[in-house]
């Protein structure tokens, strides 16, 4: 047992010495490998964390949103619908939502304005997300100037700035009272943007949605599960786009690594002959090549994973957050809560370490089975 351990250590020792003699070549190979793993792992971490974030935030979302469609487009919902929907069995609450977008011509940012109850903002007051505060350089107690529908200024006092921990939902939010909302946008009374419906038993959601549609044929219910699905597919799609962009560089790396790993130079072939002639067995030579593959690929995999983790979760993925999140004037700076999916890491491991190591060993197989006396016949 101890013997075979020593054998491994000894052969690993020679592997390292042997890799080190082509230092520049092997280090650049390692660096490229590292970069590829780093990019893939970053992508994996980023998308997984965003999905998790979305799933958690959407847990608090209303069970169902009811929109109204008019001529195929979304329209305001009459508040009368509330009573009708509330009568449906299983519905516990129906709340009209008032929200919309506010384009800030000053810095080109687009804010989300929502009407909240008094707990968020009373009349003439507002609660804003930290993204808004940063863009406008505002503090609690300052006045937030908004331009109304008729170009008249509306000044609101800032009562609250949401903590940056909530940036992932609230960075661009401006919460104002319903009265101010109506006033600012000339929003018609008796209407709402959409309705948030709460249902007692989530299993009844589909039934309730069907009943709403049959009672109000122009309504479009959006279930929470549909919202969640939308997010999963957005991130999958974005991640896929990134992967597509990475694909060409990935491919060229694979070709390079394949060439490097499989191409057995005459010198390497001769070396294997020498090792055989001085008493190395075929299995010893293959072990040597195994370690050669492992040293490069495992190191790249482990380091790449660690660097990717730091990149995504400590530095908020500066390298490709833009591509994944879009190019935004008001850019939400949020820190993702780290999440590691062991299954995904295992897949990454099997996609990087295993093929490379195999590609290193296989071509040596034939060279390693030459007769030990071949070296005497040069």
């Amino acid at each position: 047992m101890n013997n075979s351990m020593e054998r491994h250590l000894n052969i690993l020792e020679f592997t390292l010495a042997s890799l080190l003699r082509r230092k520049a070549k092997n280090l650049s190979l390692l660096a490229m490998y590292l970069l590829v793993v780093f990019m893939l792992a970053s992508l994996l971490f980023f998308v997984t964390a965003l999905k998790r974030e979305a799933a958690i935030i959407l847990n608090d979302a209303p069970d169902m949103i009811v929109q109204r469609l008019m001529a195929g487009r979304q329209d305001l919902v009459p508040v009368d619908y509330v009573a009708g929907i509330a009568q449906i069995k299983g519905v516990t609450a129906v709340r009209p939502r008032l929200w919309g977008y506010y384009y800030d011509a000053l810095n080109g940012a687009n804010f989300t304005i929502m009407a909240g109850d008094d707990s968020a903002a009373g009349s003439g007051k507002t609660a804003i997300g930290s993204g808004v505060a940063k863009t406008r350089n505002l503090m609690v107690g300052d006045l937030l100037p908004l331009i109304g529908y008729d170009k008249s200024p509306v000044m609101l006092e800032i009562g609250t700035i949401f903590p940056s921990a909530s940036d992932l939902i609230a960075a661009d939010l401006i919460v104002i009272s319903p009265d101010d909302f109506h006033h600012l946008f000339n929003f018609p009374a008796g209407q709402a943007t959409d309705l948030a419906v709460t249902v007692r038993n989530p299993k009844e959601l589909a039934t309730v949605a069907a009943k709403i549609v049959s009672r109000f044929p122009d309504s479009r219910p959006i279930l929470k599960s549909e919202i969640q699905r939308t997010y999963q597919s957005i991130f999958d799609w974005r991640g896929g786009m990134m992967l597509l962009v990475l694909a060409s560089s990935l491919l060229s790396f694979i070709i390079f690594a394949w060439d490097k790993a499989t191409g057995l130079s005459a010198e390497e072939r001769k070396e294997i002959g020498i090792l055989k002639s001085i008493g190395w067995e075929t299995s010893d030579v293959l072990l040597l090549k195994f370690w050669e593959g492992i040293v490069i690929s495992l190191t790249a995999f482990l380091l790449g994973t660690v660097l990717a983790y730091g990149h995504v979760f400590f530095l908020s993925a500066p390298l490709f957050a833009q591509a994944l999140k879009g190019w935004s004037v008001l850019y939400p700076h949020f820190r993702l809560v780290p999440v590691v999916d062991v299954y995904q890491l295992a897949v990454l491991f099997f996609l990087t370490v295993v093929p490379y190591t195999t590609a290193t060993i296989i071509p040596c197989w034939r060279a390693a089975t030459i007769d030990p006396d071949a070296a005497m016949r040069y």
Partner: protein
């Protein structure tokens, strides 16, 4: 120390870091604060990942195809403009 041991120690150390990071992640998930209470009253449905276009700030509230129409190089969603036939059976299910 011999090089092979150095390498193994190094690899073990990096592996330990990977394990520690996954513990760190698990811990962070446990420690994640409750959602800001004010947010719960607002019934927000979407993430603030980008802000400009209505379909990116509230993708789930927009038309069904909107989330996928945001990129200049995006593939056409509607059957008439598609290169590959979209799965109509799926999309128009009631």
């Amino acid at each position: 120390m011999r090089r092979s041991l150095q390498y193994i120690l190094f690899t073990a150390a990096v592996f330990a870091v990977v394990l520690l990071l996954s513990l760190h992640a698990r811990n962070a998930q446990h420690r994640r604060g409750d959602p800001v209470p004010q947010m719960q009253n607002l019934h927000v449905t979407d993430l603030c990942l980008t802000t400009e276009a209505r379909y990116t700030r509230h993708p789930s509230m927009a038309d069904r195809h909107a989330p996928f129409q945001e990129h200049p190089l995006t593939l056409e969603h509607f059957p008439s403009g598609s290169l590959i036939m979209p799965n109509l059976a799926d999309r128009y299910k009631p």
